[in-house]
């Protein structure tokens, strides 16, 4: 089996269309950039203030004025543009980002998302996440299906919300789940798992699409 995170990133990458403006969260979502077809012109946004985010620089070639939202040194592509934080979040809130890919602590049947705080344990702050999920045209959650066996896809989130009814799609190592007005629908499944195994790893009610496909790995 391919590395789980790489597999998830690879599947998410298929959701990106030529010409899209995309914002990738820190961690697993960042890997999505590695699976874009060469002939695609995808513009990556970095919410700290630019469009045209490129790959990490060679060691020793870092530009100290140029970091991404995860505080890593990065590069820009030709045609990039810089702006201030109000414009950056204007781009996000104003629905000019086609897709955002983020991790999650919990997602629920209504597409509600919790990914920024575990009261009493972890209080990092929401950063740009609340704006991103409210503003992006499509919100994809890329994460491992469970937290070491503990359910993350729930009937109802128990952690404080990041936002309500914002998630469009969940991609995990087990499959692809779409959030629809009638609930969660499993549309693709990793052939290493049975539908029962997916159900077991999910607290939320999941419908299985009549067109269920095999997930590419």
């Amino acid at each position: 089996m391919a590395d789980v995170k790489e597999m998830i990133a690879k599947r998410v990458a298929k959701e990106l269309k030529d010409g899209d403006v995309v914002n990738l969260g820190i961690g697993l979502p960042t890997k999505v950039a590695n699976y874009i077809p060469d002939d695609y012109d995808i513009t990556f946004q970095s919410e700290n203030g630019f469009l045209g985010l490129g790959p990490a620089p060679e060691k020793g070639q870092e530009d100290v004025d140029l970091i991404n939202a995860g505080a890593q040194y990065v590069t820009i592509k030709s045609g990039a543009s810089f702006f201030d934080s109000a414009t950056s979040f204007g781009i996000i809130r104003g629905h000019h980002v086609d897709i955002t890919v983020l991790g999650a602590l919990q997602v629920d049947e209504e597409g509600n998302l919790a990914n920024w705080i575990i009261p009493g344990v972890m209080l990092p702050g929401m950063g740009g996440a609340m704006d991103l999920v409210v503003g992006a045209k499509k919100v994809i959650i890329a994460m491992q299906h469970t937290n070491k066996g503990k359910h993350k896809i729930l009937k109802k989130c128990t952690l404080p919300y990041t936002a309500l009814r914002v998630v469009d799609m969940i991609v995990t190592e087990m499959g692809v789940i779409e959030v629809t007005p009638s609930g969660l629908v499993l549309t693709e499944i990793n052939s290493d798992y049975s539908i029962d195994q997916v159900m077991e790893a999910t607290e939320a009610t999941i419908m299985v699409s009549s067109k269920l496909k095999e997930m590419t790995k």
Binding site: G49, A71, S88, R93, L123, G125, M130, D131, V134, L164
Partner: protein
């Protein structure tokens, strides 16, 4: 023309215990480090700091936090500076978390005389607590209020002697917004140039906002 270029010591002289200070930068990038160092040296306390984040140890506002000079931190993210959580747990530091886009917009509102803005961000979350919810065409928005400060500490890449500032790459972030929202604006800059050397089209913070210019800000040493 009024002389705006001052020494570090002169520049921070008016900053006192309890001052409300906006600090530009995103995880330290775009933060005026020489002003942070000067404030640490000065040792004033009970500061209210408005900054995108808590930076990371030994960088930007983290220096002030580590030195126990901050009473309240208004920020969108504090996860990469463990000292913040520790001081919060000990009740030494109050942290007010604001979504990043809302923080930017609140500072912009403060600087541009708006009474507030309506944003969909935070509706239905902890962020909405205590805030007015206004429904427009069936969609809910939070009324978010302006933020202002006594001082804005800004980092310029190139600054002319009138105070016109140009920011390089991702150092821009909150700097131009904060420069409009504070009573006194102090720019620490890498390069000081003659008036006219920055193309008027490309000025990012007009000189009328800048009260004090301090030279000697260096590129960050990794």
């Amino acid at each position: 023309m009024q002389k705006k270029i001052k020494t570090l010591e002169e520049a921070i002289a008016p900053i006192k215990d309890g001052s409300v200070i906006m600090v530009g930068g995103f995880m330290g990038t775009g933060t005026p480090e020489i002003l942070m160092d000067a404030l640490v040296l000065k040792g004033i306390k009970d500061l209210v700091i408005i900054c995108n984040d808590g930076a990371y140890p030994k960088r930007g506002v983290a220096k002030l936090i580590a030195n126990k000079q901050v009473k309240t931190l208004i920020a969108s993210h504090v996860g990469l500076n463990p000292e913040v959580g520790q001081q919060m747990d000990r009740g030494e530091l109050e942290v007010i978390l604001v979504p990043q886009g809302t923080l930017a917009e609140r500072i912009r509102a403060g600087g541009t005389g708006l009474g507030g803005v309506l944003t969909p961000t935070g509706v239905g979350t902890i962020v909405a607590e205590g805030k007015q919810v206004i429904t427009i065409e069936g969609k809910e928005y939070l009324l978010e209020m302006p933020l202002k400060a006594d001082f804005a500490l800004i980092r310029g890449s190139v600054t002319d002697k009138k105070g016109n500032v140009w920011y390089n790459e991702s150092t821009r972030n909150f700097n131009p917004l904060m420069a409009m929202a504070a009573d006194t604006v102090i720019v620490a800059t890498e390069k000081i140039v003659e008036v006219g050397e920055i193309d008027p089209n490309n000025v990012m913070t007009p000189g009328i906002f800048v009260d004090v210019i301090v030279g000697g800000e260096k590129p960050w040493q990794m």
